[in-house]
Amino acid sequence: MTIIAVENLTKKFGDFVAVDSVTFSVKEGEIFAFLGPNGAGKTTTIKILITLLSPTSGDGIINGFSFIENPAEVRKSIGYVPQMISVDGALTAYENMMLMASLYDVPRKERKSRVQEVLSFLKLEKFSNTMVRNFSGGMVRKLEIGQAILHYPRVLFLDEPTAGLDPIGRQDVWKYLVELCDTFKTTIFFTTHYMEEADEVSDRIAIMNLGKLATIGTAAELKEKTGKIGATLDDAFIFFTGGGLFLEKGNLRDIWRARTTERKLG
């Protein structure tokens, strides 16, 4: 069953076309990697999918609801973990979770048990009453994921979920994400700059370049398309983005955010 369907999605900022007629679909329960160099249009596409931004043209459906006509229903169906640190250090883990449980309309009677269940799933129950400013990078990421899955979303959007984490932290986060996908049949839509991570965990991968969808398929299919024997996903990425690595766009604020997140988590 298709859980995300995007058709001819276009976003223009003045004359600049950030997303150019992008069409793709994601199946329920898939782990879907959305790759591309900085400035390729990944973040803009995700912002449209999670209803933070309206497209200039095109439409899309998430869990049966159009994100243009019915953004409120789309919001109920999704969870989102931004790349930046999105938990409040001035609150405890429990308070952070309760805030999101309330905002996601988890029924009042179930809130406490649901929060305990998710904290337990993420092995954070012992730190329930710890101020989040004292958490390690891996714990922060797990708590952010916990906040985003409290309402059992059908799709979880993760923007570079392992940026700034050491290999142990990355492995730990993915262990829980894969378990989440298996347990709740949650579809995972994520971006990353770690090609080996995308290669290892994704069912399918899409690569964006210069606002267009350059390719989509399994890791094996993408590698095969390069025509190179023993190609890695790095090779496929370079193949499909051309000089993208050298012509990458972006802005100073995004770079500052990325580096700040990495510094704080690392």
Binding site: K47, I50, T51, L52, L53, A72, R75, K76, I78, G79, Y80, V81, P82, Q83, M84, I85, S86, V87, D88, A90, L91, E95, L99, M100, S102, L103, Y104, D105, M131, E144, Q147, A148, R253, R257, T260
Partner: protein
């Protein structure tokens, strides 16, 4: 529609409650924020009270200025809520909240209510300090209830204003500059530290359209003069401007993440 109103009210409460919880975890901010109004009352107020050049309608200058200093303190607390929106945008908290099925208006009202609570803590500190300075204030149950209403409404208006500014300027540096450019003229172009009557005509016009003047006027009626004839009008004006700015803010501030 009923569901939207219910969602807006309950989630405003959730947002405001979390701000209060944060304040309880670390109340040092309340102490540091109290320094400025104490200096205004203790130094500026004491010094000017000796001059007797400002007509204060038969009250001491310290009595006259106390509602003005309280208003200034509330406005300063509220106006920098825009900064917190930019900070929450930079950390990702705002994006995460905007992606939840929470009405945009609830996020604005939540911030407004929490600014009001912070403003009320300033009122408590200022009243205690006024008591220490032997400033004679009319603090009865009714006047205190009136103060709560005026502070909440005034804080709401200036929080909404600051969120709109944040959605336009988008960076902390620009906001800091504009925040200061706006707050001080608003304060001086009001009846906070001198009556409107002594101002030049053009400034009187500015003071009369300045919501800060209605806040001061209401507070002065409640805790100084006890003459409540203009109080309903002051409250009505504050209620209207606070409501209108909350609608505009709910429309504008999600743009800060774009």
């Amino acid at each position: 529609m009923t569901d939207y109103v219910f969602q807006t009210i309950t989630k405003s409460h959730v947002m405001a409650k979390m701000e209060v919880v944060k304040l309880l975890h670390d109340p040092t901010e309340l102490i540091t924020r109290a320094v400025q109004p104490i200096l205004w009352l203790g130094i500026f107020g004491e010094a000017l009270s000796k001059v007797r050049a400002i007509p204060t309608g038969g009250y001491t200058y310290l009595q006259f200025i106390t509602p003005g200093i309280l208003t200034q303190s509330v406005v300063f607390v509220a106006i920098f809520y825009g900064l917190s929106i930019i900070w929450e945008r930079d950390t990702g908290i705002l994006q995460k909240i905007l992606v939840t099925p929470t009405p945009r208006l609830a996020l604005v009202w939540g911030k407004m209510a929490s600014a009001g609570v912070r403003g009320l803590t300033q009122a408590v500190i200022i009243f205690l300090f006024a008591f220490m300075l032997r400033i004679n204030l009319n603090l009865t149950l009714m006047s205190v209830l009136g103060v709560i209403v005026i502070v909440m409404l005034g804080a709401s208006f200036f929080t909404g204003l600051s969120m709109i500014i944040a959605s336009i300027v988008k960076t902390r540096e620009r906001f800091m500059g504009i925040g200061q450019v706006i707050t001080l003229p608003l304060f001086f172009a009001s009846n906070a530290i001198y009556p409107i009557g002594i101002m030049p005509e053009w400034l009187q016009l500015v003071a009369k359209v300045n919501p800060l003047s209605y806040m001061v006027d209401g507070l002065r009626a409640l805790i100084v003069s006890g003459n409540l004839s203009s109080l309903p009008f002051d409250i009505l004006i504050l209620l209207i401007v606070a409501f209108l700015i909350s609608l505009l803010s709910a429309f504008m501030y999600p743009k800060v993440v774009m």
